[in-house]
């Protein structure tokens, strides 16, 4: 698919995520605006890091909450990372779910914490699927833009993202 089509697809996907209430448009736009011509992969890198970090944190939390005697202090770092990263990319529902988890852990309520973690996981999976699509679209756009000009004029001669601030 040509570049304009991919850009449109990306735009529609983001709009649908915003309408669904799972993505904060302003915040995600901030991440997109950081992309520069010398770092055109920036958005996919950040989203990949987000997914990796979230999965690691959720795994750790499941491990700690699965113990007979839960050491609630050990949960702090992972929860903090989940809350922070979901806020940074605008993963709205995931951040809300993490706030509930924070409360349950603060009250040292194992049952509630497990329920809250399930919700966090659900919201993560819900957004992760679409984030992976964003990553694929970004990568396709990058592939096209970093290729030399073809005779059909579909590819740019070089990266088209320039940001001079």
């Amino acid at each position: 698919m040509a570049l304009p089509g991919l850009k449109q697809q990306l735009q529609h996907l983001i709009e649908s995520m915003v309408n669904e209430g799972i993505l904060v448009e302003q915040q995600f736009a901030q991440v997109q605006e950081l992309k520069t011509s010398d770092n055109p992969n920036f958005v996919s890198q950040i989203l990949n890091d987000f997914c990796d970090g979230a999965e690691t944190s959720i795994t750790n939390l499941n491990k700690f909450l699965g113990e007979e005697q839960v050491e609630f202090d050990k949960l702090d770092t992972s929860i903090h990372l989940l809350k922070g990263s979901s806020s940074s990319i605008g993963a709205y529902q995931m951040r809300l779910a993490t706030v509930d988890l924070v409360k349950a852990v603060d009250e040292k309520d194992k049952e509630r914490s497990l329920e809250a973690l399930k919700k966090v996981t659900h919201e993560y999976l819900r957004i992760q699927y679409k984030l992976q699509t964003i990553i694929q679209l970004e990568n396709k756009m990058y592939d096209i833009e970093s290729k030399p000009l073809l005779h059909d004029g579909n590819c740019a001669a070089g990266p088209s993202y320039t940001k001079d601030i």
Partner: protein, 149 residues
């Protein structure tokens, strides 16, 4: 953006074309985001994932050396970090005779007035609420370079 400003003017970033900023955050993503934000505003950036590494870089760690003193124009640090908080890092910097003049900016995802005033009283130049936006960095550069709008 929620921010507090301390009243002392910092000459540290005036006339510095490409300020060198040390950015400290335990979150991978936030480190990358703040690094890009700063680079897009013409800063040279070094990142550290915790307070101990930050102190080492500043030459204030366990094996003190003064190699990096003149190189850092600003430290920007997350407040909530395991091990050493941003507040504790701020204190150590302000206690150091060689580094105390370096402006320190604290970032936090939580808007807690006590936290903010505690940091400002300890000598933080600014307090910024996460998630940090481009406009925050613009304001930061302007403030630290004493811009008049």
């Amino acid at each position: 953006m929620e921010s507090g400003f301390s009243s002392s003017s910092m000459g540290f970033m005036e006339n510095v074309e490409q300020p060198h900023v040390l950015a400290v955050d335990d979150s991978d993503i936030d480190r990358k985001l703040i690094e890009k934000l700063l680079k897009n505003f013409s800063c040279k950036v070094t990142t550290a994932e915790n307070g101990a590494r930050a102190l080492e870089f500043l030459g204030l760690g366990d094996h003190p050396n003064h190699c990096n003193i003149s190189k850092v124009n600003l430290v920007i640090t997350d407040y909530c970090m395991p091990g050493m908080t941003g507040y504790e890092l701020l204190k150590k910097i302000k206690e150091s005779s060689v580094m105390k003049e370096v402006p320190v900016v604290i970032m936090s995802s939580e808007n807690i007035p006590n936290r903010i005033s505690k940091c400002l009283e300890e000598g933080a130049q600014m307090f910024m609420l996460k998630p940090i936006k481009q406009s925050d960095i613009k304001q930061l550069r302007c403030h630290l370079m004493n811009c008049r709008s």
